[in-house]
Each structure stands twice: as structure tokens, then as C-alpha cells.
Symmetry: D2
Subunit: 329 residues, 4 copies
């Protein structure tokens, strides 16, 4: 039977988690809740789980843990509610777009001694995990400089941009978390540049689509992040970490690795074109780790504090880009 799950939100990312739960031998998907009846029915039909309201899931004795995949502005409320209700909580990032609201939420989580894991899926990608493992194994000595390149195949729709909190809080936040995951020290200063190069409509909405960030830690370790909402060749996700005795890097992933050669040269196919196929294994492993955390009662990682720290870096980067000043965190 294993950990018994309630899924809140049956949208795109909800389906990803439903599949991961259903395929995991240590978990059962008991119920799904979504105001859109059809979305809930699709998951219910596929995995044989109940359709229930959020209230019913909150009250359910046969549910141990919830996965929150609802819209961002409901996350903090739901976390507080289920923390108080005694369920273990996995919440998609971000907890909230507002730092004080996140802080308040985490106080409730702490007071209730609730288990809260935040969905920074990239920490569970097998390639990035291998990078971190190489660091932990001493393969590169002391970490000094990190380079992260994340580029999306194309910009999201305007409606998404409006509710996203802006590129730093929506997209770069994954890289801020990855920087913290790899640097081995907290960034204390942020410099940034932000432009609109891809889509003027993004600029019209007050957001950026192309950004560069430098993070610096207290001892002088540096992390450079480069983001764009455009990558014609697929979903570009690269990390390299330089240490005192070497370097470790994760390469990009493509669905098929063939090469065609002719008079024009040697051509390999584009990368994955979608974050869900790129991070399929990461999502499955992320849920597996959450399940293990719930079963053992150990501390969740990444935690609410990790979510908060990444959000603070995003806010600092936005301020740095706007002000032309390096911002202390």
C-alpha cells in the first residue's frame, strides 16, 4: 500500500506527478481534486483513483500526503491548511511570489512540525545528481565557480507571464536553487542584467526574456546564470562546476542520439523540446524521494527554507537588474 496520496490539481504538472505516484510500488494514488471535472476524470480513469473535493481530502483518514499542483496563489494557503491537518506536503514551486507570505507560511509549517518538500525537480535529474555526487566525492576539490545556462525552447503565453511573477521568480528560480545546491555556500551578493530580446509583448507586460546574473558567496565563490526564453534547438539545460582540482559538467539531453553526416557536415538532432520529457526521470525520482521522506519521517529536502532562499535571490536579482546596483542578500 505504501504512502497514500491525494493530488490537488489535475493540470499538466499534476498529471506528471500522478503518473509518478501510480508507477511507484511504495505509493497509492487515492484521490484527485480539481475544479475542472474533466481534468480530474482523466486522472481518475487512468489510475483508478477517487475524485474528491479538497475538503474531503483534508478530512480523509485514508490519505497520508498531498501533492499541491494548484495555481501559485493558492499554494501558501493550502500548505498551511494541510500542515494543520497533519498531512505530509509536497508543493510545486513557488510557495508564493511574496517573501513575507512565504515566511508566514513556513512559520505555520514549523509550528505544526509538518513535512514540507518543495518541487525543485532539477535536483533529482540523474545527470545533475551525478554532478553533485562528483563534488561530494571530491572529484573537483573545493567548489569555486559555477556556470548555469538555462534556455527555454520558446516564450510562454502572455497570460502565463502575467501570473508568473516575472522571469527571475518563475524561470531563474530553478537556477538559483541549483546554484545553492552546488555552490556549497550561500550567495550574499547579486548582480544582474535583464533585457527584452525575444518578444516585445513580454516587455509590454513589464517582464524580461533574457537575463544574466552573477551570484557571489562570502568567500568569493561565483555563479553565473544565463537565461533566455528562446532556444531554437530545444530545451537547453547545462551546468558546469569548477573546483580547485577539476571541473564537472552535465551535458544537454536529446531524445535520440544519432548523427547524420554529409557534405554540409555532421548533424545531431535537436534537444528535448519540452521540460516534461527532459525531466521525466527527475519527476519520478523526486516523488520517490518524497515518499521515502514520508515513510522515514526524515527532514524534507529541498525544504520550505530552500524555496524561500531561492525566492530571495530572485527578488535580489530583479532589484539588481532594475537599479544597476549589486544587491546584498
Amino acid at each position: 500500500m505504501g504512502v497514500r496520496f491525494g493530488l490537488l490539481g489535475a493540470g499538466r504538472i499534476g498529471k506528471v506527478h500522478a503518473r509518478a505516484i501510480a508507477a511507484n510500488p511504495d505509493a497509492t494514488l487515492v484521490a484527485v481534486a480539481d475544479p475542472l471535472d474533466q481534468a480530474a476524470r482523466e486522472i481518475s480513469g487512468r489510475y483508478g483513483c477517487d475524485i474528491r473535493t479538497i475538503d474531503a481530502i483534508e478530512a480523509a483518514a485514508d490519505i497520508d500526503a498531498v501533492v499541491i499542483c494548484t495555481p501559485t496563489d493558492t499554494h501558501a494557503d493550502l500548505i498551511e491548511r494541510f500542515a494543520r491537518g497533519g498531512k505530509a506536503i509536497f508543493c510545486e514551486k513557488p510557495i508564493d511570489l511574496d517573501v513575507p507570505r512565504v515566511e508566514a507560511c513556513l512559520k505555520v509549517v514549523a509550528a505544526e512540525k509538518a513535512t514540507l518538500m518543495v518541487g525543485f525537480n532539477r535536483r533529482f535529474d540523474p545527470h545533475f545528481m551525478a554532478v553533485r555526487r562528483a563534488i561530494d566525492d571530491g572529484a573537483i576539490g573545493k567548489v569555486e565557480m559555477v556556470n548555469i545556462i538555462s534556455r527555454d525552447p520558446g516564450p510562454p503565453p502572455a497570460e502565463y507571464i502575467t501570473r508568473s511573477g516575472g522571469i527571475f521568480r518563475d524561470m531563474t528560480i530553478h537556477d538559483f536553487d541549483m546554484a545553492r545546491f552546488l555552490l556549497g555556500e550561500e550567495p550574499v551578493r547579486v548582480a544582474a542584467s535583464a533585457s527584452v530580446l525575444v518578444d516585445p509583448q513580454i516587455g509590454a507586460l513589464g517582464d524580461y526574456d533574457s537575463i544574466s546574473v552573477i551570484l557571489t558567496t562570502a568567500s568569493g565563490r561565483q555563479c553565473v546564470i544565463s537565461n533566455s526564453r528562446r532556444a531554437t534547438y530545444g530545451y537547453d539545460q547545462r551546468i558546469e562546476v569548477h573546483g580547485s582540482s577539476g571541473m564537472v559538467a552535465a551535458e544537454n539531453q536529446r531524445p535520440v542520439s544519432i548523427e547524420v553526416a554529409n557534405a554540409k557536415g555532421y548533424t545531431r538532432p535537436p534537444l528535448h523540446d519540452f521540460f516534461m520529457t527532459r525531466y521525466l526521470d527527475a519527476y519520478a525520482h523526486e516523488i520517490a524521494v518524497f515518499i521515502a521522506t514520508v515513510k522515514t519521517g526524515g527532514p524534507a529536502s529541498p525544504s520550505g527554507a530552500d524555496g524561500l532562499a531561492a525566492l530571495r535571490l530572485a527578488d535580489a536579482a530583479l532589484k539588481a537588474a532594475a537599479s544597476g546596483m549589486t544587491v546584498d542578500v
Copy 2:
């Protein structure tokens, strides 16, 4: 509900197929049969299917298709039996190690108009499929020369060697099938060299562990196959196809694609160390294609005739290696 399956044989490869069937939304695993009670129970427990005898599966009205994963020397008998019983049949390669026995079996299949698909899993590997698609799309012009390198991480146990029919019928047979899949013409001549370089015990059993083969078609297309029972760096599976206007190649696969650089150089991890992880996607896709074949009633591919053709090439290669003559097929 979809296609209802009986699984014959609950060993290593049986488990792979059980998982693929269970995960496929168009199929149901109804029953498993295995003389080893524990093996059957493991699959039954994991996927919630019945444990039945082969006789019961043959007689079952609630089973549409069988997957034969039993020892090689039972394949032909079981194929005939289930062909007569009106079930669709997926059979692991080889049908038999003896050409006349295969021919007799295929006559029964033909007479019964039974659906028989043979388990040449590599045809369903996404990378090799992409190679074939590139050829079909005209990316390299007319096929001229094919190079296939297949090297196992290590030799199998002596007991396996004894029952395997020898390296050509057991290991190279996959490459013979791949050559036929890619050459676009039937090989008509076979030259070969065979040695014992890896394990003297293999030689003591009358088999080889290192072989090279040249296949030639009627119009002069050539395929070179290189096999070894040893590859310290993992499961080495490469294909390249040269045509009149270009080349297409499939690269090796590794579980994690990171790179560590230091004073000794740049190091990437070894390849997959096992054919089951290397071909995980291929096995799933293979069963999906079989299911689609059963549902549509279309002709199975690879067919029994494909199994027979590959076996004939294996026999010819063995004869060529032993005699020092190029053998016509």
C-alpha cells in the same frame, strides 16, 4: 482492457515483458506460467495477475496473446501449440537453433494463419529506429556499407554458453537481423573469422568469444559486424550506415552524461552495463508494436521469416569461420 496477455516464463526477460505489458494502457497481463513457483509469484504479486499452467493459458477464453520467454528448446513447440490454439504469439528469439525445425514451425504458423512476432528488440530502440527513419527519408541516399559493433560487458556463464547455440546464433544473430533491417537487400555471401580471446573456457566448450563477419548482398552492399564477449567500458552497441550521399550513425548510450575534467583529461562515465537497461525503451516499444499488431490484425514484423533468415546467416557465418571459405546463403 485491450489485449489480454498470458506470459510463459517468469525469468529475467519475462519480467521485462511483464512490466512493459502492465505499463501499457492497451494491454492487460491476465496470467503468468512458470514451473518455478517463486518466479511466477513475484510477477503475480507485483502486477496482480493469475498464476496458471501453460495448459490453462492455452485453454483460456480470457487470453488473446502469449509472450514466450521459456527456454529456447521449447519455443518451436509452444509456437505451434498456441498457433493452433488461435492465440497471437510474441516469441523471444530464437525460434529454434535448428533451421529445419524453424521451417517446420513456420509452416504450422502459416497454415494456421497465426500472428507470430519474433523478439528482435533492437529494431525498436529509439536510436536505431531513427537511423532507419533517416535512411527511409533519403538522408543518406542509397545504402552502400553498414558497420555494426556489438560488444558485451562480459562473457555469460558456461552453462548459458552450452545451451546458447554458440556466439553466432546467440549474440551475432541480433546483428544479422539489424544488418537485414538496414541493408535494404538480402545478404548472399558471408565471410567470417572467429577466435577465443576472452575466456578459454568458452573455447573448451567449442564456442568463440570474438568474431568478425562480412556480409555482401547481390548488388555488392557490404556489412561488417564486430562482436566480443568483453567490453570493460560497458555495453557497446554501435551502428553506422553509409549511403551514396551521406552517413548516419547511432551513438552509444550511458545512464548519466556528465564529464569530469582534471589534469588527467576529460572523463565521461561508462556505458550502460546491462542489455536490459540499455534497451529498456526498446522492450516497451516492442510490446506496444505487438499489441498494435494484434489489435489491427496486420502482419507481424519482425516475423518468423525474419527469425529464420537471421538464423541462416548465423549458420553460414559459423561455417565460414570454420571452413575459411566464403559461404553463399
Copy 3:
């Protein structure tokens, strides 16, 4: 006979240029000058040229052009002197470490209508040239973001650091020039972070060994530069340029490209371990372009103005790193 050269300075870089001149069919190395007799004699003996004083070279009727490879603090004086003397001038970077001194020098060059080419050798590397050509050919559309990684195998001696003008003026200046070469627009803002991670002695001398820079142009194009005085795996020199319709990147270079695979994985040798072997072709091509410029009388590129522009970016980056403010150029 071609262009007749006088070489000023017979040190490490002087030898590189002597060889390039001697091997070029359109040039003759007539004389070398160096206060160190042995250094001059080595070049004289190898290439059969005279040893003369700088005064004699200045006065010589049989010399058309000079290559200035003397210590940095003599560059501006020598440029002015030979500009007035009517010789074409190739000068190693930098013209001077002080912007007003460079400006004064360039006024003399302009007044004398002298030919002055500055030694930014990387513009002549065949790989980086191919990157630029791909941009010019429209292969990636409009340039948007540039990533430059330059890492030295190890830190220079303290004595060198002292006279170098600091990492931004000594090392990053090549990357500033490359950024200008590739961005297609002048940077107008500079953000930077600078640390001492490699060698505390460098910090004791008031310099840095690890830096990150963000350049932004008026239209928002961005360039990220990452520099370190340490790279255990060799001389790391990478460039990638992202445009509106694609990306072009230059890969690292290694002296031998083999790969060894075993149970530990796949290992390729380290990169070139020295800038002179890495950029051997670039140095030869650079001199060839200078010779062509002298023969045709066309404008030199990179020019004195390019040297000045890169120096201004270096000064701005230093100020940005020290002040924590984004600096306008």
C-alpha cells in the same frame, strides 16, 4: 622580398612572431633588437637576420614595418616614435595600461596617418573566425547573448602580476575584445564580481584571480565572461553566441584527440596546456593579415581604437567589481 620587418623584443612572444614572419612568403625578417644579447642572437641565428639597435631599426631604409614585443610600459613611446618614422606598426596588446596615455598615443598615430595594428590574436584563431563568419552569414540570426569562458592552466608568477595591470587589463581584455568582435554592438554597461580563490599571493598584490563580468549593449544584448587563473585540465577557451534563430559555439582544442575507455569510463586527453600552442595558427594568421594590410595600405584591424575600447571595458569592470555598482561606459 615582401614586407621587410624589424622585430623589437626577442622574448617569448617575439619568438612566436619571428617564426611567423620567417615562414611567410610575403615577408622578410631583416633585423631584431633586444637589450638581452642572447635572446637577439637566438632569433638572428635561427632566421638569419641582423641584430640591430632600436635606433638603427628606426633609421633603416630596408625596413618597412616593426613588430613591438617589448615590455608594456615601452609600447606607447615606441608606437609614437615609429609612427613618426613612417614605419607600419604591429604592437602586442596593450598599447598602455593607462587610458589617457593610449589616447595621446593614438592621436600621434592619427596625425601621422600611420598603420597600427594591435595584437588581439584570438580574432585570428580559425575556430573563432568561423564563429564570426557563421554570424556574418546569418546562421544564427540577430546576435542576442554571448558566453565566453577563458581559464588559464595556472597563475602567472607574482612578478608578472605586478606589472600586468591586473586580471581585467591583462587577461579579460582578450575577452572584452572578443565580446566587441562578436556582439555587433558596443557594450554600454558593465557589472562584475572578482575574487581571490586560486592564489592568496595574487590577492596580496591587490589583484584577483577569478572574475565574472556581464556586459550589456544599448539594445540589451548581453555578454557573460568567466575567467580564472586556474584550469587543471588545460587552457580553456570557449565561446558561444546565441542569436534570434540559432547558436554557434567554438569548442576547446586539444593536441591529440584520442579516447581511452575502460571500467572507469571514457577519457580524452587534457587541452593544450599553453596559449602559444593553442593559438599557434592564430599568431601565424595574424601576421599574415598585418602583412596584407601593409601591402594594400588598407585600414588595420584590430586597430588602436579597438585596443582603447577593450581597455576602457577593463577599467569599467575593475570599477564595477570594486564598487558593487553597474558602471556605464
Copy 4:
């Protein structure tokens, strides 16, 4: 002054050697001989050497060594003549197309105790040398299997084919030498397949353009060679060697190593399109080794015996392809 050279033959390959001699500080190019006056004058003008007749070079007291780059059918006569004349000899491959003629020639060389080095340039390619060094250093254990792929960008003109001795003696002979260089044991059996796939005119001349060969040594080591007169993507030259504890491979070489990525994928430029640019370093190193051999008086390698051994393999492969029999050497 170093070794004083006479160059016999001022054609394409003669120019390559002239440049290598001229650039080598331990050698002087004293004279060139060629019946075509213009060819000789081109080299004489470029490197400042005399133009002399072959007779004059034979009689010259100021010449220590000759490089024979004349047509193939003159090689054996010239070797004998200069062996008797006491000059050290570097001869382009092959010594002759006829085994008995080569044997007779080598008897003269032995009787005269002459220094004779044969121009198998690939042994001096830095990448293939590194492969051999890795083997010698024990990086892959005991050699077991070698794979060689050599494909020319396009077929030579018919006139060349006519005088070439056929693909095995002209093209594959380099791979036979490389096989001997790497296998660590002499091949004793040859199997082969040969076709006309590229150019029917080659078939009309009685030659082949596409061949596959298997060499086997006494202990069972195997080498597979794949040749084609067509490779749309450039000059394809790959070697991989498998041993008891690992594998070492040399990658293909391209003049520029950039990569362009867009919606169609990631594209790297074609390989070198000509053997002279591909093997530029090899030719220079080859002459340097010959010079060192002449100066030290050590045994030449590759020797006349190496030339003969490769020719015997070529003859055996031709016989194997024509007869359909494995041929013992």
C-alpha cells in the same frame, strides 16, 4: 646544415616533403630533380635549392639523402641505384606493385646496408601515434581487435586508377600497415569482400571502390578494415583498438571545430577534405624521424620489409575477394 637532401619528383607529394625539409632546422634541401621543368622551378624558387638531374644528384658529394616521389614504376630502380650510391633513402609507398620486384630491390638494399624508410605517413600522425603509445603504455591490456575505417572524399581520376595497382595496393595498403603497426602480431589469414558501388568506371577498369577486409593473426587477434572511395562528409580516418582491459580510439579531424545549433539540430562542419591537410603534421614528423634516423644511423622504420609485408597483405586480400576463399599469408 644537418642532413642534405635531394628531392626526386616535384609533384604534389614532392612539394609536401620539400616544405617539411625546408622547415626542419636539422635539414637542408640542396637540389630537386623533375623532368617537368616548371615543377622543379617552383620548388627551387620557393626554397632556394638547385635544380639538378637525377644523375647529378646521384653523383653529388653535397647530398646525404634522397626523397623519392617519382612515379611508382620508377621506385625500385631508384632505390637500388641510390642504395648502391651510398645515399640514405626515403621512398614514398609503394616500393613496387609486384612482390618479386620488391623482394629483389630489398636484397640490394640489404647487400648495400643502405638506409631505406618507406612513406607510411599515418604512423606519424599525432593522433595515431597517441593510440599506439596508449597501447605500449598498457592502457588497454593485450590487443585483441582492431577496427579501421578509411574513406576517401571521392574517387581518383580513371588515369590514376589505371596505374594504382588497384584499391587494395593503393588505398588499403595504408590500413594494412596500420593494422600491423597496432595488432602486435602478424596477420596470417585474410578474408575480403570487394564491390563497385561508387563509380562504374572503376569497375570497367577492373578495380573496386568499396571493400571490407578481415585480418586474423596466429593467436586469433582480428582486424576489420572498411574502405570506400566515397565519403561526402570529408576524409574519414578512424581507428579503434580493443584490448583485454580497455579500448583506445582516434577521432576524425576537422579544420574548424565549431557547432551551429538551430531547429534542425546541432551541426559541426565536415572533416578535412584532402589527405594532405589531414596529414600535414604527420608528413612533417615523418621527415623529422627520417632525418634523425640518418643522423643516428639507426634502423629505419617503417622499413622496406614493412612495405613488403603490407603489399603481401594487399595481394592476399585481392585474391580473397576474387576467390571467395580465406587466404593464408
